[in-house]
Chain length 180, copies 2
DNA sequence: CACTCCAGTTCATTCATTGAACCTACTGTG
DNA sequence: CACAGTAGGTTCAATGAATGAACTGGAGTG
């Protein structure tokens, strides 16, 4: 977003937040991090964004403390959400809810459940079984009623993301995953 | 945001939402609409954004059904949030909450109350007096503990916005408002 | 050592944003 | 009626950011 720091809205936390996550692509990167993306290549493949832009966004997210960059992680670099990044979950949910409400007539594209009791989460993230606000790592994501098959189901990266899984859990990369 | 419509994420409501409100400035315009801005000039003065950009953003927000454009309104044009626009309130709140949490150590920049019983609203928009989720038009906004005076308090436009008021209520423009 | 991944960088082209100036219609005011 | 002021824009040159394709360089493998 790069709002000028002379911006009159020193007193608006919305403006402040947008300086961190308001740029093009940034929130989509964060979303994919929630969904389990950790590697540069995962983000690049899923988002189809120019690698130079991805580099720059990852850099600034790390700098802002939303992601950590860990290059000690086996073969390659891993980007992971920090607690500050995980705290963006309500933002991601709110944006999704609005899109579901106004652009997905047959229902939410994705559904979220409490992994423990399988209860669906409502708009505020509360489990309809136990009434709790479910913490992010205990949420599983699956297709919702509004999901529209689009042919990416069997693509190794997007495909993985379309099967039920727990948030924040990294993609499992079996050795033969590029075998066509 | 202008994500290409060929975007693989047909199935992500977050991406869909960002296509509508993800561009630079757009959410700040929406925020000011919640805070009572209705006139082209109000937005321009508060946001200090190039008028050409404002024109284009207002146009697309109207096209998306987030705002209405009414040029029958006395002397001038009025932009108002539609119900679809008002439904963005949770998005605005979520973004503000995050900014307050991580960039405003002395507390929220703005506080919200239930106009009827004066109860403060919590993070989810629930009144701490009566427990209800307060509908947007019944919310009043005032300075929070983290508010930092910045000299715009007596500027006619920004100043108005800094005194407690009900959301969505238009600025009252008294005839002598430009009298220095 | 050749080969493949992975995580970037580089670069020319295209596109969007910026800020300042200009334009047009309407509203009082003397 | 002339004139200033206000409102809501448009136009334009300059700058900056995004795009996509090609390239680089290191680590791990056979």
């Amino acid at each position: 977003m790069t709002l000028p720091s002379t911006y009159a809205d020193r007193n608006c936390s919305l403006a402040r937040t947008l300086e961190v996550v308001g740029e093009r692509w940034t929130l989509l990167i964060v979303r994919d991090a929630f969904f389990g993306a950790r590697r540069f290549g995962d983000f690049a493949a899923r988002l189809k964004i120019p690698r130079a832009v991805l580099t720059s966004r990852l850099k600034s997210l790390v700098q802002e403390g939303v992601l950590t960059r860990d290059d000690e992680a086996g073969a390659g670099v891993e980007y992971r959400l920090t607690p500050k990044g995980v705290a963006l979950w309500p933002v991601v949910r709110a944006l999704m809810n609005w899109g579901d409400e106004f652009y997905s007539p047959s229902g939410a594209k994705r559904a979220f459940r409490h992994d423990r009791d399988g209860g669906l989460l409502d708009r505020e993230g509360r489990c309809q079984e136990c009434g709790q606000v479910v913490p992010v790592p205990a949420i599983t994501i699956e297709r919702g009623p509004g999901y529209e098959p689009d042919g990416t189901e069997h693509d190794p990266v997007s495909g993985t993301i379309n099967t039920p899984r727990r948030l924040l859990e990294p993609f499992v990369r079996s050795e033969g995953r590029k075998a066509s």
